[in-house]
Every structure is written in C-alpha cells, then in structure tokens.
Amino acid sequence: MAVVLLPGLLATEAGGQQRFELDAATLLDALRALPVAALVLDERGEVRPLVHVYVDGERARDLAAALAPGARVRIVAAIAGG
C-alpha cells in the first residue's frame, strides 16, 4: 500500500481528497489509479513536464520503478507561472 499526496489544485479536482492510499506495484500504476491521472499524465502516459514526483523524499524519474510497501509519493507542481 502506497500513500499519494496531491497539491491543492489536484486535490480540488479529486473532489477535495488530498491523500490516497493505493495498491500499486509501480509508480506509474499509482499515478494511473488517481482520479486526476489525466492531469498528471499526458495522453501518452508520460508525466507532464512541469509535474514533479517524489518518492520518500527523492525525485522519481523512473515510472516503472517498483513501489515499496508504505512508500510515500508526493506530487509537486514546478514553480512557474505569474
């Protein structure tokens, strides 16, 4: 079981839920299971360029990596905009 934490706008889009506990073998599985998967991943299933994903505090770039039980996945929006 992994825990996925969403930033504010994604939590709003997820009906107000900020924390998800998911059964997921890989990071990609976890992201795909989110109700906001289409905002995190593009139509090719790739993480959008300004979305950063951290697993247990480390920037994760390999979506196929296995998720350890109890892994804490945090989605972060890159600092951008105006």
Partner: protein, 351 residues
C-alpha cells in the same frame, strides 16, 4: 430579461449578471480557481456551463457544470492519437452543437485540432479530417500558438460549419466534419513577402456566422475585416471606410440584424493596443460599408482578445486584458466590471 455573462480570465471564471437595462451588473466568482479560462459558454439547449480550462502544469481540459458553477466535472480522455505524433497543448473554444443534436459539442485547441463530443463532454473524439488535413504542413502558429479558436455553426444545416485556425485560415465542412475545404478566397495574408492570397495560411483572428442569415459570415483577420455572403466562398474587405485599422481581434454581431457588426481595432500587429489612445468600439449597420465610433473609455491603451467580445439580443460586451468589462446598448456604454484578472473571453446568454 437580464443577461448572464461568462467571463473567462487568466485566473478563473467569473459569472456576471446584468439587469434588463444592462446598466447594473453583479460579479460572482472566481470559479475554477487556478485555471486559465480561454473560453466559457452556456449551452442554450440545456443551460450547462462549459469552460476551456488550462493550467501551465496540468495541461488543457474542459470543465462542465450543471448547477450554475457550484460544482464542476472534468472531461476525461482528451488527447491526440499516438500516430499523429502530436500532443494536446491547450483548449481554446467550445461551441455547443446544432439544436437538432443535443449533447453534441465541438472543441478547438492547440495544435490546430478539433474534437467532437456526443455525450455533453464526457468523452471526446478528435476530428481526423482536420488532424490529417492535406494543407497542414502550410499552417504556421500565430502569437497564441497554432490554435483552432473559432467554431461557428449554420443554424439551418447541422452538417455545415466553419472553423478558424491561426494561422491557417477559415475552413468549411458541409458533411458534418468528414471533410474540410479552405474558405479564404479574398482574404489577405499581408505578412507574407509574396503571394499574399494563398489558399491557406491566412491569420484569421475570429470568424462568426450570422445566426439569422445562413451563408453570411463576418471575419476579423490579422489583415482586415471581412464579410462573406456566400458561405465563405469569397470574402469582401471592409476596413477602408471608417475603421482606423484593419488589425484587431474581437468581433460581435447583432442576432436580429445581419448587417450590423462590431469590432475593436488595434493600432497594428507590431503595437497591439487600441487605436487613438481610447477603447473604441466601431459599429457598422450597413454590412460594413461604413463604421461609426463609440468611445467606451479614454484615455486608454487597452486590448481586447479574440474571444473578448460577446453579444446577446440587447447589447454587446467587451472585456479587456486590463480586466475591465464594458456593455454597449443603444449607443451607450456602461462599465460592467473592473479590476478583474486579464479577460480572455466573454460570452453572453439572455436569462
């Protein structure tokens, strides 16, 4: 009857309600905080609200509300097929479909794509004839990107509609979107060094068909204001008879009079600000033979974007990038809102 204005801004959607006289307005919002609303519209068939919502991190999508903006649902599955080697960059304009096709919607976006939904936006299907158009390699992006920004219907013929793509031009279908033909004869591509009247490549800024006269189209282009009386087969240029400039973005019509139209010219492509240090709304009542100035505000150095003008049976509305919204009725201008975020779109629906 009053009016409901859906005002899309760089920072959310505002709903602004005006009274019967279009003199008093109340601002509600913002809705969809965190989203840039390129366009929002109320579906006249069922009252649903739709927003082309975009975020620089999370991409472009569509939100729908069935309760006046209290709650929203987001479309799933918006994207481009892998074989196209393209990805959806943003959503720009949503047009409710023909009255005979409840649930049908059209959606324009970047890069020069068109989608259709037949289930009120729950799912979308890309229009392959636009995606694979034989002239696509001659389309060039404008300042806003390579975008499908205008979608306008023939009220009598559900299979006939027009789209505007910057900078590709106007395209027409007569078979419900199965095929599209360029409709740019007579419109100039004044920015080209030679061959300024190509089949495609024109920088249309906004195209509207008149709801009461099938076949009459109005167009604000990078290179002039135009009218067509033959469904876009040919265009007549109208901006050398009272307009200070042919350059501009916004365009509004009068549903009850096909000879009336409104534009807000800007100084030039190089200096995109309203002409003569004022916000001037120019109105023609003779199909573009002459134009008269109505000053909304001066001094002012403003800009009204391509979706920045709306209209209903009573009035015309214009929202500026500086966050001011004006209503024009019977030649009189009222400030309807001020200090909003930069206004990207205005759509009016009579209540």
């Amino acid at each position: 009857m009053g009016v409901q204005l859906l005002v899309g801004t760089r920072k959310g959607l505002f709903i602004i309600r005006g009274d019967d006289e279009r003199r008093s307005f109340e601002v509600e919002g913002p809705f969809l905080k965190g989203w840039t609303i390129n366009h929002a519209v109320s579906d006249p068939r069922d009252g649903a609200l739709y927003a082309c919502s975009n975020n620089w991190v999370y991409g472009g999508t569509v939100h729908r509300s069935d309760d006046g903006g209290a709650t929203w649902e987001r479309s799933e599955g918006l994207g481009l097929p892998e074989e196209s080697e393209l990805k959806l960059a943003s959503t720009w304009h949503l047009e409710p479909g023909h009255a005979s096709q409840p649930g049908t919607l059209w959606l324009g976006g970047e890069p020069a794509v068109l989608f259709r939904s037949d289930d009120s936006g729950a799912t979308w299907k890309v229009n392959e004839a636009v995606l694979e158009h034989e002239t696509r390699d001659r389309w060039e992006p404008g300042a806003g990107g390579l975008i499908t920004h205008s979608i306008t219907l023939d009220r009598e013929d559900a299979k006939r509609l027009w789209i505007g793509i910057s900078a590709a031009g106007v395209f027409r279908t007569t078979d419900g979107g199965a095929s599209w033909e360029p409709a740019n004869q007579g419109t100039e591509a004044c920015f080209l060094p030679e061959d300024r009247f190509p089949a495609v490549g024109q920088c249309v800024h906004k195209v509207l068909s008149h709801p009461g006269r099938p076949g009459r189209l109005w167009q604000q282009n990078h290179c002039g204001v135009y009218r067509s009386d033959d469904s876009g087969e040919s265009w007549e240029r109208l901006d050398r008879n009272g307009l200070p400039s042919g350059f501009g973005f916004g365009l509004a019509l009068d549903p009850s009079d096909p000879d009336t139209a409104f534009v807000i010219p800007e100084e030039s492509a190089e200096n995109r600000v309203t002409c003569d240090a004022r916000i001037g709304i120019y109105r023609t009542t003779d199909a573009g033979a002459s134009w008269k100035l109505i000053v909304a505000q001066e001094p002012a150095w403003a800009a009204v974007l391509r979706e920045g003008m709306g209209f209903d049976d009573e009035a015309v509305y214009a929202g500026t990038q500086s966050g001011f919204l004006y209503a024009l009725r019977d030649g009189q201008v009222v400030e309807a809102a001020r200090h909003l975020p930069p206004i990207l779109s205005v759509e009016a629906a009579t209540l």
